[in-house]
Symmetry: C2
Subunit: 186 residues, 2 copies
């Protein structure tokens, strides 16, 4: 096991700022293109990250702290951002993500004492017993998954443009992952 609270927070606190530098001011053609029917564009990925901050990670963490395994987590609707249209520019979405992530990290640091709480357990609607440590690890890997997804979605735009180099660019071969991304349920 490699999980370490300090190191996990290092990633969680960097994600919004890095995405802000990467995506702010980009042309709409980068932000609006996707990988085909039923896949997300870059802007929708940011909306999904905001939804996770509001409805997934902290509510589940609080549930483990308060209820333990007594009540299963309410299911997280990973498509909710598609139903509740988020208007506004990518810059506004990135600011919202940055603000809510920062609040959540502050709460997390106040709430969790690693020596006492990491092994606490809750009840996941599909998996059953899960540890608080696993939820926090998943939060970190979920960030990394969506950073990789954003890169892949953008790369897809130039699939034809790279010409013969296509066969050397692993990111353009990743068909399995592209199809499975929609099925990620956190």
């Amino acid at each position: 096991m490699n999980f370490n609270m300090k190191e996990a927070i290092e990633v969680l606190e960097r994600t919004p700022q890095s995405l802000e530098y990467f995506l702010s001011g980009l042309s709409n053609s980068w932000l609006q293109s996707n990988e085909g029917e039923g896949t997300w564009n870059v802007s929708e990925v940011i909306e999904h990250l905001i939804d996770g901050e509001k409805n997934n990670w902290m509510p589940r963490l609080e549930m483990i702290m308060k209820e333990g395994e007594k009540k299963p987590f309410p299911p997280f609707d990973r498509f909710s951002h598609l139903n509740n249209r988020h208007d506004g520019s990518i810059e506004n979405k990135l600011l919202e993500f940055k603000a809510i992530r920062s609040q959540n990290i502050t709460k997390l640091q106040r709430m969790i004492e690693p020596d006492l709480h990491l092994e606490l357990t809750g009840s996941h609607p599909a998996f059953g017993k899960v540890h608080l440590r696993e939820l926090l690890s998943t939060w970190v890997v979920h960030d990394l998954t969506h950073i990789a997804q954003i890169s892949r979605v953008m790369a897809e735009r130039y699939r034809a443009d790279v010409g013969p180099w296509q066969e050397y660019l692993g990111i353009l071969k990743n068909d399995v992952n592209r199809k499975e991304e929609r099925l990620i349920y956190t």
Copy 2:
């Protein structure tokens, strides 16, 4: 075809700064871990990006402009950064990447007139005839490939830590890509 010079530069100029925000100050455990024997850690990926700035993209671009298809590109040794050990902190490497990328973008903008030059051709040692437009598109996708790789390498550290969530996290399933990444030859 989606290639557009202005949009390509948008990505090229954002990559170093975004990586700087993501990686500066990270614990060594994130920077030094890899995906197993023969795979690169995060720090080595940045060294490879620096090597590309020095020895791959601009030299090939200049060769297309000066020589056309008369001489094939000299091969780019994608492992050279492993032989010429780069010492120094990740912060120094990121600064070097940022500086040399910025110089290269300035050169690129002075050198290339999209209406005149994008269809110029050169000779790739393996593919034969390639267009300048394809080389530039590949430069962009190459950035995106390595951003995705960095995310995946970091996610790998928590493979066991996420517990039952592993099956929902696409990034941890991506075995094909992990093995192929080493074979990317640009």
